[in-house]
Amino acid sequence: MIMEVHNYELHVANVQIDAIASSSIFLIGDNDSIVLSSFFDTPPESYSVINLVPLSPVA
């Protein structure tokens, strides 16, 4: 695949961002290669209803 890029004048007036979080990147400029990997885990058992405060850490 051949990709041809023609860069002319690039003007941005305002940028408004709330948060850049967890290995994210806000880039004003050029880039060659981006490789991203993300693991996210919220299994059902991560929500546990307990009736007493555990004294020893929950394994």
Binding site: I2, H11, Q16, I20, I25, I28, D30, I50, P57
Partner: protein, 122 residues
Amino acid sequence: MFKRTANVQCVNVVSITDGSFLNVGDTHLGNPVSKVIALQKEGATFRGELKFEDYSIFSQKAHFPESKTNIIKRTFTHNPNIYVQNSNVMAISSSSIFQLGNLDKIAAESRIKHFRHVIIED
């Protein structure tokens, strides 16, 4: 490879935390990695309750695509400038990068595990 110049008039950042940074200038390689355990808990919390080693999500291997991509990219820069008037960012956190300038290679990884411990109201 010819790189453009970023002309930014005004940058407004409120908070930069947890291994993040605001980078002005050019960078060759960025490799942010973040490992997070988010615990929402009622009642007392103890330090060191949840450890990274206990959960497989933090030790799984990330299988990136093989890097040899057969793409030929030809760039013709007629105007080597990027103009940004003002950029307002509230928060940059957990190993993130705000780059003003060029960043050639990025290999970012983030691993987050959530816990919610709720106490029964009897």
